[in-house]
């Protein structure tokens, strides 16, 4: 028997990245192994290396030996454990897993024995375990091939979990190992780091198989023998065979590969004329600079350019910039709008390469936020691409670099409280409806607590609910399955599958790596983010419409800057549909901030964010801007940082600089702060800076109150705050869309309608807003409408365009039907309803939808009578191919729709009505009841008591507003913004949450041109006829 100082290495360990199988985080396994004094630990997740980076980071921190491996599933459904001894072995492992994953449906992997043997170099194979071919009833056919391929790197793996039937299997493995001349190695299948996780592992097994604990039978493990064992315990388990235990150490000594050995090279295509990447980049940058600065580079710009190019060369980042340039070039060549966002806008190189549209020098943006020599971290360029065409760009990247060299970054879907309650509750056998009720009482991000059981009417003292609470807490933040990052790409000079296994995503034609964004960052790999942006889609569509109908060719760069009518419109908060500044909160800020230039827009975009709001920075900034308050600085050292924003920190960069200057954060600490802000949903990450920041700032003489506010702002930024560069990029699009709305309202409306769903408002509100701006909006009509909305020249007026609503707005109509209408109409116009029905051959269903939407009104028939007639179509169709309407039988007249009914039908079947607002026909009645319209309300004096009724178009309950609910009500003349204090909301919450036509009594607040109605009472207006309920857009 070995001494107590003896140790061993567990060689078959699965973490929770073997989705729904392992019940411990990789770092928990590493940490426990380290505490137990184990020599090493092999992480061998099922068909992947998903959790390897997490384990690697923890092992690096502890100085612990982590062995890299994986449990491979073969086509005969047996398993084999492979461990990498070298970098080459790791590449073989990744390639082998990629082969299996790419040929199998998502979530599974199968490789064959020939492939295993082909990839055997520098891999150790542990053959054994209850589900291995070596333990099977039949003699394994591939034993000779395996012996040849792996040689002395093939071991027979013994496993003991004190379960029934093991002895027989072990006997069989030993016999076969002896015949094949294989050394045996002692092991066990580790699924959790402590026996306390056994219950969770059972539950995970149930979730994976879709069964309950009561019906799981032998799908769950028979005992808690799958936890990491202390050395003494493990030697006791194998007391009869200590040599096999000691062989684990021999194997761990052979496996010296570490993820730290991964050397990454960014892909470089063939460069023209034997130029080096550095020369080629400089050449491109200079060409771009000549365009960006037609009158020549300023001294500052020249210096910045040189500084950046030198740093890029020193850090060997040229390939990354050249790749981004190539993607942007592809977009330009293919008429796809794109624009860099985020910290890349701090770089003049990006500006000159056309990746970003902001001049960082004139804006005074901080380059170090983008790349820093101290941080030595890969830069992160996020490219916004017009939403509808992003897939073209993604496929271009695949084509350009090849599937072997490009794959998208993964995103692990993790358990949050509600999803955990649902899955764990199902496994425990609770009725699903009860669990759903409980889930509604659970917080989104915080851990579950006892109170939610009480609130949902369940008794937490019953054992079942106690199990539910405990297990739901334990499973929090564990990965459930692999998803795909919205736009992150990993590109490599070497095949990506040599770095990390690649597998199929759910979306067709997408491949994804097994690591997420944080893993990629931890290993210092380069990532390219290609993101979709609906606003660019609108801009592009609008440019096309203006070009086609007005003959003007516009780009983002040629839109006239500093256009005063545009800023006047923005100052009036007339910004429905405008990117970033259309929300209720933004619209309330605009008349107060009164943006006069581009930088004001940058501030506007940034200021209505949780960061500045929770940090209490908004009002001080406004007061200083309006010269109602003196501009002071909490400390002289902060003047350079806060000067631009009048002494108030508004941007993320300023917060980081504050931390560095006022709290003496090192660049590394500041970067950690940035990361912790980004990971705001992980509880406690930001809080660990609280004490450090506040104490250091007060120590430096900064008032504690200011320090605490800065910390609150940091916390708020974590939830959602903008860096200045990012806000600058967005402000550019905000200005472009404002300009288009101001000068080309019809084209802008048309583009917005065709880009739906997007933005803050529904099509109905956009149409109403357009009409209030004098745009002639014409209803859907089969004689004139295309699938998309179109512009039509207005007759009589000479100039200006009307918007013709497209068939896409007929609810339930497919694009194919719309195309069919257009194709059939192209020959000659439809003569009559009968002609339309005969030539298109549409079914009753389609004809009904067209009738109900009013698209057939051109045939001078009332909608109800037409509907009655088209309802007879189906039988005719069923019997023969005659497509004529059956108008035989006694005529029935259902009467015409009145104006309110017409609007109701429009709204019900097309989600909008160009024929009027639903409240317009009821205005007389509303007036008689003393209920004014929105336009009147907005001109009443501050403090007036008013009663008002309007359609609810938006509800908001921001987390930063202490329970206050904001609602926007609309009538035919405009909007009324409601403020509902929590008490009032609680009292009238049923009405507030469900009523689409809402009556409000309250007091008017009219300050700085911003009108709010502070509700004191909500009620349901009793009118002779009610408009159709409309869906409001609700945000939290």
């Amino acid at each position: 028997m070995p001494t107590t100082s003896a140790t061993y290495a567990p060689l078959w360990c699965k973490s929770n990245y073997s989705f729904l199988e392992g019940a411990s985080h990789p770092d928990e396994l590493v940490e426990t192994a380290h505490q137990l004094g184990l020599r090493a630990l092999a992480l061998t997740d099922r068909d992947g290396v998903y959790g390897m980076v997490r384990a690697h980071v923890k092992a690096r921190e502890l100085g612990f030996h982590l062995i890299v491996g994986s449990e491979i599933t073969l086509q005969d459904e047996t398993n084999l454990v492979l461990l990498a001894t070298t970098r080459k072995g790791y590449a073989n492992l990744c390639r082998l897993i990629s082969n299996g994953r790419l040929r199998s449906p998502k979530g599974t992997s199968r490789v064959n024995w020939e492939e295993v043997c082909e990839h055997a170099d520098d891999l150790i194979a542990l053959w054994g375990g209850p589900n291995s071919a070596l333990a099977g009833m039949e003699e394994p056919e591939m034993s000779g091939a395996m012996r040849d391929a792996f040689g002395d790197r093939l071991y027979a793996l013994l496993t003991r979990h004190e379960a029934a039937g093991e002895t027989r299997l072990e006997h069989r493995i030993r016999e076969r190992a002896k015949r094949m001349g294989l050394a045996t190695v002692a092991g066990m299948e580790v699924l959790y780091h402590t026996p306390a996780r056994r219950n969770l592992q059972d539950v995970m097994t149930c979730i994976r198989h879709g069964v309950t604990l009561a019906t799981a039978g032998r799908l769950t493990k028979p005992n808690a023998g799958h936890a990491l064992r202390a050395p003494d315990d493990f030697f006791r388990l194998y007391a009869d065979d200590p040599d096999s235990v000691l062989r684990t150490l021999e194997i761990s000594d052979r496996c010296q590969f570490s993820l730290a050995e991964i050397r990454y090279r960014y892909p470089l295509e063939n460069l023209p004329g034997n130029t080096t990447p550095s020369q080629w980049l400089r050449q491109l940058v200079m060409q771009g600079a000549a365009q960006r600065y037609p009158s020549g580079l300023t001294v500052d710009a020249q210096q910045q350019l040189e500084k950046e190019l030198t740093l890029i060369r020193d850090l060997d980042y040229e390939g990354y910039f050249l790749t981004m340039w190539e993607i942007v070039r592809f977009c330009r060549e293919n008429d796809i709008l794109c624009q860099g966002r985020g910290s890349a806008a701090n770089s003049i190189v990006c500006y000159c390469l056309g990746i970003t549209a902001i001049d960082p020098v004139s804006m005074g943006l901080l380059f170090e936020r983008f790349i820093s020599r101290e941080r030595a971290e890969p830069p992160d360029i996020d490219l916004d691409i017009e939403h509808d065409r992003r897939e073209e760009v993604i496929q271009h990247v695949y084509r350009k670099h090849g599937r072997r060299h490009a794959a998208m970054v993964a995103n692990f879907i993790r358990y949050r409280t509600r999803s955990a309650l649902r899955d764990v509750g199902r496994a425990l056998g609770f009725p699903e409806t009860s669990i759903e009720r409980l889930a509604r009482h659970a917080p989104h991000y915080e851990k579950p607590e006892q109170g939610m059981f009480d609130n949902a009417g369940f008794d937490i003292n019953t054992p079942a609910f106690r199990h539910l609470l405990r297990l739901t807490t334990e499973i929090q933040n564990m990965p459930r399955h692999l998803s795909i990052h919205p736009g992150g790409f990993l590109l490599g000079h070497e095949p990506v599958s040599d770095l990390v296994p690649v597998e199929n995503a759910t979306m067709p034609d997408r491949t994804v790596i097994q690591w997420d964004k944080e893993d990629v960052e931890d290993l210092g790999l380069f990532k390219v983010d290609l993101l979709g942006l609906g606003a660019l889609n609108v801009v592009h569509r609008c440019f096309d419409l203006i070009k086609r109908h007005d003959g003007k060719e516009l780009t983002l760069a040629t839109i006239p800057p500093d256009d005063q009518p545009t800023y006047a419109m923005i100052q009036r908060a007339d910004t429905v549909g405008v990117f970033q500044i259309e929300s209720r909160a933004q619209m309330s800020m605009l008349p107060r901030l009164k943006p006069e230039n581009y930088y004001d827009l940058v501030i506007e975009v940034s200021i209505v964010r949780p960061g500045p709001i929770t940090g209490g920075m908004v009002h001080p900034y406004l007061r200083r801007r309006n010269k109602e308050e003196e501009i002071t600085y909490p400390h002289d050292c902060l003047k350079p940082v806060l000067k631009k924003t009048l002494g108030i920190p508004l941007f993320q960069e300023q917060v980081m600089q504050l931390a560095m200057i006022a709290a003496d954060y090192t660049p590394g600490e500041a970067d950690q702060l940035r990361r912790d802000m980004a990971a705001w949903r992980s509880a406690g990450r930001i809080e660990r800076h609280q004490h450090r920041l506040i104490e250091r700032m007060t120590h430096k003489g900064i008032p504690r109150e200011f320090a605490e506010r800065v910390f609150e702002q940091i916390r708020g930024f974590g939830e959602y705050g903008f860096p200045e560069s990012h806000a600058a990029s967005f402000a550019l699009i905000a200005y472009a869309t404002s300009w288009m709305k101001c000068h080309h309202p019809a084209a802008f409306l048309c583009a917005m309608l065709n880009a739906q769903p997007m933005g803050f408002y529904s099509a109905a509100t956009l149409v109403q807003d357009g009409q209030r701006h004098g745009v002639d909006v014409r209803p859907v009509d089969v004689q004139h409408s295309n699938w998309d909305c179109t512009l039509a020249r207005q007759s009589g007026s000479g100039e200006g365009h009307a918007v013709r609503m497209g068939l896409r707005y007929v609810r339930g109509l497919s694009e194919a039907v719309g195309e069919c209408v257009m194709a059939v109409r192209r020959g000659r116009p439809f003569q009559s309803l009968d002609d339309f029905a005969r030539r298109t051959g549409f079914s009753t269903e389609i004809m009904s939808r067209l009738t109900e939407s009013g698209a057939l009104e051109c045939f001078r028939s009332e909608r109800r009578n037409t509907l009655w007639n088209v309802l007879s179509l189906e039988t005719t169709h069923g019997e023969q191919e005659s497509l004529e309407l059956d108008l035989s039988g006694p005529a029935v007249d259902f009467g015409a729709l009145d104006s309110l009914e017409t609007i109701r039908w429009d709204r019900e079947f097309t989600d909008h009505s160009p024929r009027g607002h639903p409240l317009a026909p009821l205005r007389d009645e509303l007036n008689r009841r003393g209920l004014p319209d929105a336009s009147t309300i907005n001109h009443l004096q501050d403090g007036s008591r008013v009663h008002y009724a309007g359609m609810v178009i938006c509800r908001q309950r921001p987390g930063t507003a202490n329970g206050v609910v904001f609602m926007t009500l609309e009538d035919e003349t405009g909007f009324v913004n409601l403020v509902i204090w929590e008490k009032v909301f609680q009292k009238f919450q049923i009405l507030a949450r469900t009523e689409s036509l809402l009556g409000v009594s309250g007091k008017l607040q009219n300050q700085s041109g911003v009108t709010h109605l502070v509700a004191q009472r909500l009620w349901s207006p009793r009118l002779r006829s009610r408009p159709i309920p409309q869906k409001s857009r609700d945000f939290h």
């Binding site: 056994r198 759903e436 054992p463 007879s872 039988g889 009467g895 039908w905 469900t994």
Partner: protein, 490 residues
């Protein structure tokens, strides 16, 4: 003619089952799933705008305290049977609506004279239902459809004085009250047809063409063009027969002779209903006024008189009576008969598996219904949970599989027996006392831990060979800290 409506019967049933939900928003869902559709919602739920047709998840977003449950069709059928029994005290003829649980048509003719007035009759009926925990509305009128419309729309009982009043009410009834398909109903609403009167005025053929046969049928009913008599619920009821003796009979043969005409009578009535007897309940009243009940089931539903008599004799002979029989009652429950059973001279095949089934039926008749069982293997870790006894129903065709080697037989004891604890030191372990000698070889442990979510079990199993050569299967119950003998290997 009268119609009794128990509005939202499944919801009423759910709230009877969960009285604690009476003050909370509650609803019936079609399935136990967040996407289950709400079928009925109570007043509290409606106050939150939670209406039938919404998904449960949507309902929860309106009120997160919404309690829901499912009500199975089986439970509804049972309740309907119960309600029918209540209604039998009020009418000789009752027809439950096939598509609408909770709606019953009853013949009310003559009830005004029995109960003073139709109003009294309806009130008593309503009270009876209320005592049983159900809310009901009763409408008395002249046509099936007119009563139905009134029972569905009126909050209180209603008696029509004449047919004109009924027609007027019917015409003004909203079409929502008709059992129209939702799509047809919505389309009619779009056309401005919101009341039954407007619906009736539409041309019948046009309704058929546009809305299909079901709407057409309803249209005819509403116009009173398609009168059908009530179909009494009793048609599928059990059939009974009995005889009271004026003496106390103790002889089995004579009892057999007495039972024969009763059996024959029941079978002939089943034959008329094109049914076969599936179950037979025999109730005997003995001379000492005690009762004895026996339940028999033939192997398959049958119309064979001899087979039934034979089963009856076996059951009676198996348990003799202490005293004689003074009354005999037989009650048969039927099921649809096969065409073969309906043939006068059925052809028997050469090898008839029914004969085997009949033999088993005889064993059950003689030894009790639990006499024939089979072991069913189950997936579980605990040995005693790896099989369960289930009633043997029928022989399956044998499909033997060749085994490569004969498996060892491990015989489990019904109740594990306590054995002495294993000595902590290396002393002798006399597991079964001195009979088999001390344990000479111990293999194990194999650990079974489970059931933590209800009753935790933790056992360490060992195979123990005694000096006598027996292989015992023993476990240490770690929770109770005791040793048990669970079985033996043969």
């Amino acid at each position: 003619m009268a119609c009794v409506n128990l509005p939202e019967l499944p919801l009423q049933m759910l709230l009877r089952e969960h009285p604690e939900w009476n003050r909370r928003p509650a609803a019936v869902v079609d399935r136990d799933h967040p996407n289950g559709v709400l079928l009925w919602a109570n007043e509290q739920a409606r106050r939150h705008r939670i209406l039938p047709g919404l998904r449960y998840a949507t309902g929860l977003s309106l009120c997160r305290d919404l309690c829901v449950g499912t009500v199975s069709s089986h439970a509804v059928s049972r309740t309907i049977q119960r309600l029918i029994r209540l209604l039998e005290a009020f009418s000789p003829c009752i027809e439950p609506a096939a598509q609408e649980p909770g709606v019953f048509w009853v013949v009310a003719t003559g009830q005004d004279r029995l109960r003073g007035s139709f109003e009294n009759w309806a009130t008593t009926l309503r009270q009876t239902f209320a005592q049983a925990g159900f809310q009901a509305t009763v409408a008395v009128g002249f046509s099936r459809f007119g009563c139905y419309a009134a029972a569905k729309t009126k909050k209180a009982n209603f008696v029509f004085r004449d047919a004109t009043q009924e027609q007027t009410h019917l015409r003004a009834t909203p079409i929502e009250c008709l059992g129209l398909e939702i799509k047809a109903r919505d389309t009619l609403r779009k056309l401005g047809v919101t009341i039954v009167g407007d619906f009736i005025d539409l041309p019948a053929d046009a309704v058929h063409r546009r809305f299909g046969a079901a709407a057409f049928q309803l249209h005819r009913l509403a116009r009173d063009k398609d009168w059908t008599p009530l179909i009494d619920h009793t048609s599928s009821e059990p059939i009974q027969a009995g005889q009271v003796l004026d003496y106390s009979e103790t002889n089995f043969d004579r009892l057999q002779n007495l039972l024969q005409p009763l059996v024959r009578s029941i079978l002939s009535r089943f034959y008329e209903r094109r049914e076969a007897l599936a179950k037979l309940r025999l109730s005997l009243t003995l001379d000492d006024r005690s009762n004895r009940h026996e339940q028999l089931a033939p192997a398959t539903p049958t119309l064979n008189e001899q087979q039934l008599l034979s089963l009856l004799r076996l059951r009676l002979e198996s348990t003799p009576f202490p005293t004689g029989v003074v009354e005999l009652k037989l009650q048969g429950t039927g099921s649809p008969a096969t065409s073969r059973q309906m043939e006068l001279f059925p052809q028997n095949p050469g090898r008839d598996p029914h004969v085997a089934q009949e033999a088993l039926a005889r064993i059950r008749a003689e030894l009790g219904n639990d006499a024939v069982m089979r072991a069913q293997l189950c997936e579980a870790h605990l040995p005693e949970s790896r099989f369960e006894w289930r009633a043997f129903e029928k022989f399956a065709t044998a499909q033997p599989v060749k085994k490569s080697c004969r498996p060892l037989v491990r015989r489990l004891f019904t109740q594990p027996a306590t054995v002495p604890a294993r000595p902590r030191q290396s002393g002798k372990w006399l597991v079964t006392g001195t009979t088999d000698g001390a344990a000479e070889e111990i293999i194990g442990p194999q650990i079974i831990e489970g059931g933590w979510w209800r009753r935790e079990v933790s056992r360490a199993y060992y195979y123990v060979r005694t000096r006598s050569g027996r292989w015992l299967w023993i476990y240490h119950d770690r929770k109770r800290r005791r040793w048990f003998l669970h079985g033996e290997v043969e």
